[in-house]
C-alpha cells in the first residue's frame, strides 16, 4: 500500500520510494527515508493535498506524490 491509502490518524513505515527523480531526492533529504514512521494528520478540505507528520514536523504533499511512497501500516 502507499501513503495515499492511509487514513487520517493512521501510521505507517516507509518501505520504498518510487523511481529516482529530483522530487524523490527532495523527499528523502527532508527526512522521509526508508524505515521512517509517517502519520497522516488530515486531508485538506477538498481531499487533496494531505498533511502528514514525520520526524516531529508537519509536511503537506499531494495525493499523487503520496502514491509514490510505499508504506506498511502499523496502527
Amino acid at each position: 500500500m502507499t501513503l495515499k491509502d492511509l487514513k487520517p490518524g493512521q501510521t505507517g513505515i516507509i518501505e520504498s520510494l518510487g523511481k529516482p527523480s529530483t522530487l524523490r531526492k527532495r523527499i528523502i533529504d527532508m527526512g522521509l527515508t526508508i524505515g521512517t514512521e509517517i502519520k497522516v494528520i488530515k486531508l485538506a478540505p477538498l481531499g487533496d493535498p494531505i498533511e502528514i507528520k514525520v520526524r516531529g514536523y508537519q509536511l503537506s504533499l499531494r495525493l499523487n506524490e503520496a502514491s509514490e511512497i510505499y508504506v506498511r501500516l502499523i496502527s
Binding site: K25, I28, M30, T33, L46, G56, L59, S60, E65
Partner: protein, 668 residues
C-alpha cells in the same frame, strides 16, 4: 580584521530574525518555506570587530539543485566566507541536523546556534546540548531569537577564531572508503568531501565546477557503480539514508521526546483553521479583514488625518513662497508641480502601511502556508499551485516582491505562469486611481466599485490561468511539498523592519521618481515645444503628445489627451496616474488636497461608464517599470517578459473596449 559570516539554516528556523537582531537592517521574514531568497548582508552592530553577516536562503539540503541551494552552496564554499553559523531549529531537531551534517562536510569553521529552545521546552522535550555538541564536535549556542535571548553569547562566539570542523565518519566503513576513493579520483581542493558525495549521488552529471582540466570521469563512475552494486538502495539515496540513520541514532541519545498525546497549540489552531468545513469561511473572513483594515473605515480615517497634515505642509510652503515674493512660475512649479503631484500620492501612505502590516502578520504567523494548503486543489485547476497563492496575495501589496516570492515554486513552468498573472492582482499603487474615480463618479457606491476592481483582477487572473496553462505549463508535472511550520507570534522587530522596508520604498518612490515625473509633467504641460508658455494646456508639449495618441483610447471612452498622458506616465509608477491627473487638472493649490480636489475635474472629463473603463484599463495594462524590470530578471527571458506585458495590455484594451462599447449599447 574583517570577517565574513554566513547564516545558513532550514526555512522557518528563525534565521532572518537572528539576522535582523544582529544587523538591525531590513529583512523580509516569512513563515512560508523559502521566502528569504535574496542574499542580504549587514554588519553586526554590537561587535567591536568588523563582522559582516550574509543571510542565505532557507534550505533543507545542499544536495539537490534548486536555485536557493546552488546560491548557498557556491557562496559558502567560496573563500569569501570565514565562518558558517548554522541556525538550527531545536524543536525540529532531526531534519535540521541533516543540513548541519552536510554543512560540516564543507570542512570550514562552523558553529551552531540552537534556536527555538522555548518551543522545545513548551513541547516538554528535553535536549542534552552538551552531548549533542560533543558528539558532533562543534560549538553550540543556545538562543531564543524571538525573545532576543542568547544573542550576545552568539556574537562573542562569532568574534572568536575557529578551526575548520572535523568531518565525522558517520557512514558505514564501506561507504566511507568509497567517499575517500572518489575524493582522490576527483582532485577537487574546495570541499572535497561534499563534491565526492555529489559525484556518488549524481554520477558524471554532477555539476562539480571546480576542476581545472576536464578529467575523464567515466572510470571513476564505473568504480562507484561497481562498489554499490549489491546495495538495496539507489545511489542517490544511500548517503542521505545513512545520514538520517546517524541522526536517528544521535537523537535517541540526546533528545528525550515528550510522548504524551497532548495536543500542541499548532495542532489546536490547525484543527479549526484547516477544518473540513470551517477552513474556507475562515479564509474568506481573514481576507475580508485584511481589506477592511486597509481600505475600510479605519484606513480611510487615518488617511483623512494624513491628508490634513499634507495640506497643512502645502499651505505653509505656499504662504512662505508668497511671503518671500517668488515669481508666479516658481510658485506654480513648487505648489502645483511638486507638492500637488507628490501630495496626492502620499495621501495613500496610511492605507498602504496597514496593508503591508497585515500581510506581514499573516506571513510571519504561518497562516499563509495553511492558506496554500487549503487552496492548492482549487488553484491547480487554473494551472497554478497552492504555492502560487502567497505570491498572489503579496501582489495586492506590490507586484515586485510578489514576483520574487514565486521563487518558492520549484517547477519552472508553474512559476512562469504564476508570474504572468500576478500583475493582475491589483497592487496598492493602483488603489489611489480607483479611490479617486469612485469618489468622483460613483459617490454612492464607492466601496462597491473599488471591490469590483479587485474582484475583476482576480477573475481575469483565474481565467488567464485556464487560458494560458495550455501554452505555458503543458505537459509538466508540478509538485507540492510544503512544510506546515509551527505557528509563531510575529516579533515586533520583524514586523516593523519588514513594513518599514516596504513603506520606505513607497516614500522613496514618491520623493524621487514621482517627484521628477511631476516636475517634468508640470514643465511639459506649461510650455510648448517652442519653449513658450502655453496659453492653453492643450497647446503645451504634453498636450500635443497626448492629442497625438489619444485616438487609440477613443473607442474605450477616454480619448482625451489628459488620460493618455496619465496612462503613459503610469508606466513609471502607477501612483503617477493620479498625480499626473492632479497636475494636468491643476489641483495643487486648491483648498482641499488629494482625492477631493480631483473630484470635480474628473466628473467633468469622464462619464461614469468611461471612468469605469479607464479604471479597468489601469487595473490590467502593462505593469510599472519596476515590475517590468523584476519580471525580466525573474523570468530571465525577454521573450516571456514581452509576451507577459503584451498579453496584459491586450487584455486591458479588450476588456475596457468591451465594457465601454457594451455599456453604451445597454444605454449606460
Amino acid at each position: 580584521m574583517k570577517k565574513t559570516i554566513a547564516l545558513v539554516g532550514n526555512p522557518n528556523c528563525g534565521k532572518s530574525t537572528v539576522f535582523n537582531i544582529l544587523t538591525g537592517s531590513n529583512q523580509y521574514v516569512g513563515n512560508w518555506p523559502g521566502v528569504t531568497v535574496e542574499k542580504k548582508s549587514g554588519h553586526i552592530r554590537k561587535s567591536k570587530l568588523d563582522l559582516s553577516v550574509v543571510d542565505l536562503p532557507g534550505i533543507y539540503s545542499l544536495a539537490t539543485s534548486t536555485l536557493e541551494e546552488v546560491i548557498t552552496r557556491e557562496f559558502i564554499e567560496s573563500d569569501e566566507v570565514d565562518l558558517i553559523v548554522n541556525i538550527l531549529d531545536a524543536s525540529n531537531l532531526e531534519r535540521n541536523l541533516f543540513l548541519t551534517l552536510q554543512l560540516m562536510e564543507i570542512g570550514k569553521p562552523m558553529i551552531v546556534a540552537l534556536n527555538m529552545m522555548d518551543v522545545l521546552r513548551a513541547h516538554k522535550d528535553e535536549l542534552n546540548i552538551e552531548h549533542l555538541s560533543q558528539h558532533l564536535g562543534i560549538d553550540m549556542i543556545e538562543i531564543v531569537a524571538s525573545k532576543e535571548q542568547g544573542i550576545s553569547t552568539l556574537i562573542e562566539a562569532m568574534e572568536k577564531d575557529h578551526v575548520p570542523v572535523q568531518i565525522l565518519p558517520i557512514y558505514r566503513p564501506k561507504i566511507q572508503k568509497l567517499i575517500n576513493k572518489v575524493k582522490e579520483g576527483l582532485h577537487i581542493k574546495v570541499s572535497p568531501t561534499l563534491h565526492a558525495i555529489r559525484f556518488i549521488e549524481e554520477g558524471i552529471s554532477a555539476a562539480l565546477g571546480h576542476e581545472k582540466k576536464p578529467l575523464d570521469l567515466s572510470p571513476l563512475n564505473a568504480m562507484v557503480e561497481e562498489s554499490l552494486r549489491d546495495e538495496t538502495l539507489d545511489r542517490d539515496m544511500i548517503i542521505s539514508d545513512e545520514k538520517y540513520r546517524f541522526i536517528t541514532e544521535l537523537s535517541s541519545h540526546v533528545l528525550k521526546r515528550n510522548m504524551s498525546q497532548e495536543k500542541t497549540l499548532t495542532h489546536r489552531i490547525d484543527a479549526v483553521v484547516t477544518h473540513r468545513i470551517l477552513a474556507f469561511p475562515i479564509f474568506l473572513g481573514v481576507m475580508w479583514i485584511v481589506f477592511m483594515l486597509a481600505f475600510g473605515p479605519f484606513g480611510a480615517t487615518l488617511k483623512g488625518y494624513f491628508e490634513l497634515l499634507i495640506q497643512f505642509v502645502i499651505d505653509q510652503v505656499a504662504s512662505l513662497l508668497t511671503m518671500i515674493d517668488v515669481s508666479p512660475w516658481v510658485y506654480g512649479l513648487v505648489i502645483d508641480g511638486l507638492l500637488g503631484g507628490v501630495g496626492s500620492v502620499l495621501g495613500f501612505l496610511p492605507e498602504i502601511t496597514i496593508l503591508f502590516i497585515v500581510l506581514s502578520i499573516l506571513e510571519d504567523t504561518g497562516y499563509m502556508a495553511r492558506a496554500a494548503f487549503i487552496m492548492d486543489r482549487i488553484l491547480r485547476r487554473f494551472g497554478l499551485s497552492g504555492k502560487s497563492f502567497i505570491p498572489m496575495i503579496i501582489g495586492f501589496g506590490c507586484t515586485v516582491p510578489a514576483l520574487m516570492a514565486t521563487r518558492t515554486l520549484e517547477n519552472e513552468k508553474d512559476r512562469r505562469l504564476t508570474m504572468m498573472i500576478i500583475p493582475f492582482m491589483s497592487c496598492s499603487a493602483r488603489f489611489p486611481i480607483y479611490a479617486v474615480f469612485a469618489a468622483a463618479l460613483f459617490t454612492n457606491n464607492q466601496a462597491l466599485v473599488v471591490y469590483t476592481m479587485y474582484i475583476m483582477g482576480i477573475l481575469v487572473a483565474i481565467l488567464s490561468g485556464i487560458f494560458l496553462k495550455r501554452f505555458v505549463t503543458q505537459g509538466s508535472v508540478s509538485s507540492f511539498i510544503m512544510e506546515l511550520p509551527e505557528y509563531h507570534r510575529p516579533t515586533l522587530r520583524n514586523l516593523i523592519l519588514h513594513t518599514w522596508d516596504k513603506v520606505k520604498g513607497f516614500i522613496i518612490k514618491a520623493g524621487t521618481v514621482l517627484l521628477l515625473a511631476s516636475l517634468i509633467i508640470y514643465m511639459m504641460s506649461t510650455y510648448t515645444f517652442d519653449l513658450q508658455p502655453a496659453l492653453e494646456q492643450v497647446d503645451s508639449m504634453i498636450g500635443s503628445i497626448g492629442t497625438f495618441i489619444a485616438p487609440i483610447f477613443k473607442p474605450l471612452g477616454f480619448g482625451d489627451w489628459k488620460s493618455s498622458i496619465a496612462l503613459l506616465v503610469g508606466f513609471i509608477a502607477k501612483e503617477a496616474v493620479v498625480s499626473t491627473l492632479g497636475v494636468l487638472h491643476g489641483v495643487g493649490d486648491s483648498a482641499v488636497n488629494g482625492t477631493a480636489a480631483l473630484v470635480e475635474p474628473i466628473r467633468a472629463a469622464y462619464t461614469p461608464l468611461a471612468g469605469f473603463a479607464f479604471m479597468t484599463f489601469t487595473l490590467l495594462y502593462l505593469p510599472c517599470i519596476a515590475a517590468f524590470a523584476t519580471l525580466k530578471r525573474e523570468m530571465n527571458s525577454w521573450k516571456w517578459t514581452f509576451i507577459t506585458v503584451g498579453y496584459q495590455t491586450g487584455v486591458a484594451y479588450l476588456l475596457a473596449l468591451l465594457i465601454y462599447q457594451g455599456g453604451k449599447m445597454m444605454g449606460f
